[in-house]
Symmetry: C2
Subunit: 324 residues, 2 copies
């Protein structure tokens, strides 16, 4: 097996970094001087010029300038900043493979989405409001506002790796689950529908989970006209990217009560500025883009990279390929 | 089919009451003058003397005094106040059947327990603390404290209808699940263990879910000695009855940090007094005995009663029999 030069700026905890060093000791591992967190854009790093493989968040502009670079594994699930004509052309010409880390993030994101849905149906934030204020025993109100998922309809707007995993987690609840995709299809736990079916799906859904990626076709996808199509009293959840929600329209839908609640893990911009009205909008609950996070995130990023490295060494197809 | 006299003090919303009236129109339905909420003890009502069947929360002392009474369906899952020598003797003699509504409550309680567990692993309350105070974007801290259930061990202390349903809901997560019961047994999604195995189970569990009913053997079951056996940093969840937790020991375990968090749906007493220290203990989250609540609770109580009434009319075995 030929020695490969692997460049990385992935943000890893010390144990995971040690694992990566150990497992790639037959190759040459170059670490960028600046490694930032998983969601930050990497800065250009001259040592990447020598790399056969890049792992982390390499500067998108630099990718085409690295003569030996044959494979880039992004340490995130989202890859909007790599979706350029130049990179797509390199991939189409067979000169570069691009992969992401959706295997790492599908699981925590699906669990986060289910945590949001159950926090809504079990009224956990309403109970916590009481706990932090009056200490009243708001027993009858909170019981009456709680709901069983078995009699609910859940619409997954975007049905990739997160949506597919979320449908598996939802299966034992007996809810009706729809997923949005390019083609209609009936799967075991979910009925896939298309944009043509959207008005009916939005009107039927008790819970709308926005899992859309960021691309030109999805920006402000959930706008005032679409919120108008929601079932009154529905819950709205965002796990994908903040750009896919028209936040002014969302605020209006929360203030009018048309939406009973919104649970947002992504916003535009991020961080959400401290004076942004979404922080204090009625029944609006924000987590700080933490849906993909988990204590063993670094370790699983490395596991996923090593899994693909093993396949790359054997010229097997890589998993989680993107931009093809 | 002989006409039966059905007495009820079940607390029902108007639609469910209408359904009950309609579906029992061939019998005689007597409604107590006072119908209270599902968890309150009913008051003695003289019209119950005429009943063949009682549905709701009849006064336990009155049950033995009603000459025609052959079946009582309790409108709750817990039935500690009906567990008397007199009632057990009537059941043992074949003069009375006692049933509860665990079919109605197993589902919402299991969903509530999973909502608690996921709120913990996804750090929803920590994020809400930030939202209600600084509006900081506590991205790295909250991601690092989030966890995947696939690498966690969950111990269900008490494995009846709620535990069994919770194990089904947990199945797709791939967590390791243990349940406490009288006999060891391996089921599809859960390994049943006995009290003899308790120290090892508590030491292994990342999440301990207390689903114990209230009876003399379970009072203060989770005491200081048992909290000492917990894995440091475990989460504790109560869905059963408040009497099964030594709350002073729980407070100490939260204050020392031995328990990372407690999510309590039941307390002793209820309502929890406004000045009770559990309201403000570190990482302690209280819901007001709402785990069994759901918007269609009345309707499902009636459905379950009518299902058993249908069986009673045909002399078929009733479901959810208790005190046998």
């Amino acid at each position: 097996m030929a020695q490969l030069t692997i460049w990385t700026n992935a943000f890893l905890d010390p144990d995971a970094r040690q694992h990566l060093l150990q497992a790639t000791r037959e190759h040459r591992l170059l670490t960028a001087s600046s490694t930032d967190n998983v969601l930050a854009k990497g800065v250009p790093d001259p040592t990447m010029q020598e790399a056969d493989i890049a792992f982390g968040q390499p500067d998108p502009e630099m990718i085409a300038t690295c003569p030996r670079l044959r494979w880039v594994q992004i340490s995130s699930a989202g890859y909007a900043r790599y979706d350029t004509g130049v990179i797509r052309a390199l991939v189409a010409a067979g000169k570069l493979q691009m992969t992401n880390s959706s295997w790492v993030y599908a699981e925590p994101c699906a669990q986060h989405a289910l945590a949001f849905i159950l926090a809504n149906t079990r009224q956990l934030h309403a109970a916590y409001d009481v706990q932090r204020t009056t200490h009243a025993w708001a027993h009858l109100e909170i019981r009456a506002r709680s709901r069983l998922l078995a009699r609910q309809t859940i619409f997954l707007a975007g049905f990739g790796s997160i949506g597919s995993r979320l449908a598996e987690l939802l299966a034992p609840f007996g809810a009706t689950v729809y997923g949005l995709r390019r083609r209609r299809q009936s799967l075991a736990h979910v009925e896939l529908i298309t944009v043509d079916d959207l008005p009916a799906a939005l009107a039927a859904a008790d819970h709308v989970v926005n899992l859309l990626p960021d691309d030109p076709s999805t920006r402000l996808f959930f706008n005032a006209a679409r919120f108008e199509q929601f079932k009154p009293g529905a819950g709205y959840y965002t796990i994908g990217r903040g750009t896919t929600t028209d936040q002014d329209a969302l605020l209006a839908a929360l203030r009018s009560g048309r939406l009973a609640a919104a649970y947002l893990d992504v916003t535009e911009p991020e961080p959400l500025p401290p004076d942004h009205p979404l922080w204090s909008a009625p029944n609006c609950y924000v987590t700080p883009h933490s849906s993909g996070g988990h204590a063993d995130e670094s370790e699983r990023l490395v596991e996923h990279f090593l899994h693909n490295l093993h396949r790359f060494e054997r010229q097997q197809p890589l998993e989680n390929q993107i931009l093809r």
